[in-house]
């Protein structure tokens, strides 16, 4: 055996602490490097940023309001609860922030085709929207199971001119759609841009998607300072892959603000049917990065469950794993039932129907608010609206709803 001196510990690019990296088939190494280079270039370019800001403002509807949820605060009885209204964006969720950024980057890189993966279809719809806006061909991989569950989003993508490709392998859900998109890209990278929807996957995706989503946190900071003259005490967001939460948290990372990530507790952590990757997982490698992962003892990725398709993913962004390991953020879980109740609560108390994903953050915030004095402030990232979930809610309740919640 050759002996070799270990290189001195240094901050490795593409890593968040010991998480992240670029664990991909060799063929993808070069396209990822090309992507990282192009991203680095546009991040410094004023023209690119201006173009993106203009689209975010005139097309997507930014800035989104920061709303004080008075009746929800009264109901919970404790800390003041605020909502960052990403649900008011074009296409109904924060996903458009990232898609506009990456689609502009694809255009800049001269790619003529965009591929994307989608679970519930929100990212697929946002990708199809951005592609239509820029006149780029778009194909979206979607698990067959998800296509059946989210028929209307499949149709939305098709109306927008995208082609939805059913994925019939594995569990036929988001993780398999992601694998299939990577397989496509390994053969098509010369002409194709892979528009990944969350802060997962190989470097540079986790940091790039976070940076495109960081507009959420930047606006929140400015807006809250102008109404309250200070920093909030808590930021609460749901965590699937982690894009809304990391975009929300990132601009506050050096501030004395507590971060809470809410994972999907599904039918309960003990049931084994959940998607709480950080709380119940162990570090491992899926889709190109080292991060917390729901896996069995032999390292096979485990099936997940959540009422909200957007959180139904066995992995989580590597930056969240680092936030967890370093203690910068805390992670909790909320069950399907609690999220469902919180969705109804917010609808009844504030006239806002949240996405079931975002409802996880609402549920935890209510619990948190009760334990805190009235002079503390919690901001929830309300990442999406609930129109897409009405069918799920209807089925869950068999069509009948209580007249009043709480």
């Amino acid at each position: 055996m050759r002996t070799k001196k270990k290189p001195p510990e240094r901050k490795r690019p593409g890593y968040f602490g010991r998480f992240g990296g670029r664990f991909v088939p060799e063929t993808l190494s070069v396209p990822l490097e090309e992507l990282a280079r192009s991203f680095r270039r546009v991040a410094r370019e004023k023209g690119f940023q201006r173009g993106l800001d203009t689209l975010l403002k005139t097309y997507a509807g930014r800035p989104t309001p920061l709303f004080f949820a008075r009746r929800l605060t009264e109901y919970c009885g404790g800390a003041r609860i605020w909502l960052k209204r990403e649900d008011l964006l074009h296409t109904g969720a924060h996903k458009i922030n990232n898609c506009l950024g990456q689609a502009l980057l694809a255009e800049r890189m001269g790619k003529r085709r965009i591929i994307a993966e989608t679970g519930a279809g929100q990212h697929g719809v946002a990708a199809a929207t951005a592609a239509a806006l820029l006149g780029i061909e778009c194909e979206v991989y979607m698990g067959e199971e998800d296509m059946a569950r989210q028929e209307i989003n499949v149709f939305r993508m098709e109306v927008l001119g995208a082609r939805v490709i059913p994925v019939r392998t594995g569990s036929k859900t988001l993780k398999d759609a992601c694998s299939e998109a990577l397989r496509d890209w390994a053969a098509s990278f010369a002409s194709t841009y892979y528009l990944l929807g969350s802060t997962v996957g190989p470097d540079p995706y986790p940091r790039m998607v976070r940076d495109f989503q960081a507009v959420i946190g930047r606006e929140t900071k400015r807006q809250f300072r102008s109404v309250a003259g200070r920093l909030p005490d808590f930021l609460v967001a749901c965590v699937g892959g982690g894009s809304n939460s990391l975009g929300f948290f990132h601009p506050f990372r050096s501030d004395p603000v507590e971060f809470v990530g809410v994972e999907a507790g599904g039918a309960g952590l003990k049931s084994g049917r959940h998607a709480a990757s950080i709380i119940r997982g162990r570090p491992g490698v899926l889709h190109g990065s080292y991060s917390y992962l729901l896996q069995d003892g032999g390292g096979q990725v485990q099936p997940t469950h959540s009422i909200s398709a957007g959180l139904d993913y066995p992995g989580v962004g590597p930056e969240h794993s680092h936030y967890f390991a370093s203690g910068r953020a805390s992670y909790v879980s909320v069950t399907d039932r609690q999220a469902f109740d919180a969705a109804l609560l917010l609808s009844r108390r504030e006239g806002i129907i949240p996405a079931l994903e975002s409802a996880h953050a609402v549920a935890w915030s209510c619990r948190l608010a009760r334990k805190l004095p009235k002079n503390r402030h919690i901001i929830i990232c309300l990442s999406g609206r609930g129109d897409k979930d009405l069918e799920t809610i209807r089925k869950e309740r068999g069509g009948s709803l209580p007249n009043c919640v709480g």
Partner: protein
């Protein structure tokens, strides 16, 4: 000396090229895959690549995906693959390489993995989602246990990185014949010969070509330029459409059709 190095030394001395089959461990059953591995070794396979099934095989096409999923559905694990390897090793000195995605290897723990591989008589590992720049944590403990970590190189791998692969890799370089995933293709990529000879100029390691090889003509062509040829999907495909006994006969037939009597393969 590692069995892989010994094998290439011998082949080189005889002016021959390596014939390397890939099969999925545990597909269609553990016993059937072991029988197939033995039969292939008896039919002149120079190195056996045993695939460790994984739930999310991103570098594989439909054939290997299906075989992997079927093996997992029947309860295949890395532990069981190691037991198969042990059994295989009892009867033969044919070099044995495990090929699989990183996570199951990680889950075993690196120290334990290295010990178990050595004890089972495994000679090398190929990990498609472990590029050379991320590999130190595994490369060093494996080298200490005498196990070769074999890297893949692709048509778009830049020369600087190729040099790193040649330097850090052991056993041979697995050259991926084209962009994309595993699976049979009609034609070899244009410029393949030039690429392979360019690598051979800078690398002391033998270069074996895989991905998409399914025809005898391709094997003959590749044997002229490379040090060996790897065939996977073409051997696995029969098991997806035929009952096990017939499939095994069909796979062996396919193997002979590909390599039998090919002059450089020397069979």
């Amino acid at each position: 000396m590692n069995r892989i190095d010994k094998k290439f030394q011998k082949l080189r001395a005889e002016g021959k090229k390596a014939a390397i089959p890939f099969l999925t461990a545990g597909f269609p059953s553990p016993a059937a895959s072991l029988t197939l591995a033995r039969e292939l070794a008896e039919n002149g396979a120079d190195i056996i690549e045993l695939g460790v099934p994984f739930s999310d095989p991103v570098a594989d096409g439909p054939t290997i995906q299906a075989s992997s999923a079927a093996a997992l559905a029947r309860g295949m694990t890395l532990e069981k693959v190691l037991r198969l390897a042990e059994n295989f090793r009892r009867g033969t000195e044919t070099p044995l390489v495990l090929m699989g995605y990183l996570n199951p290897f990680l889950a075993m723990g690196i120290g334990r993995l290295a010990r178990r591989l050595a004890a089972a008589g495994v000679d090398g590992l190929i990990i498609p989602d472990l590029p050379v720049e991320e590999s130190d944590f595994l490369r060093i403990p494996l080298a200490a246990a005498g196990i070769h970590l074999i890297f893949l190189a692709a048509p778009n791998t830049p020369p600087k990185k190729m040099a790193r692969i040649a330097k850090r890799g052991r056993g041979f370089i697995y050259y991926v014949s084209r962009a994309g995933v595993t699976g049979a293709r009609d034609r070899l990529e244009a410029g393949l010969a030039e690429k392979v000879s360019a690598i051979k100029k800078t690398s002391p390691l033998p270069v074996c070509v895989g991905f998409g090889v399914s025809r005898r003509g391709q094997v003959i062509k590749l044997n002229r330029i490379a040090d060996g040829v790897i065939v996977g999907s073409a051997l696995i495909a029969p098991f997806l459409r035929l009952p096990p006994g017939k499939a095994r006969a069909a796979a062996i037939k396919k193997w002979r059709e590909l390599f039998g009597g090919v002059p450089e393969a020397g069979r």
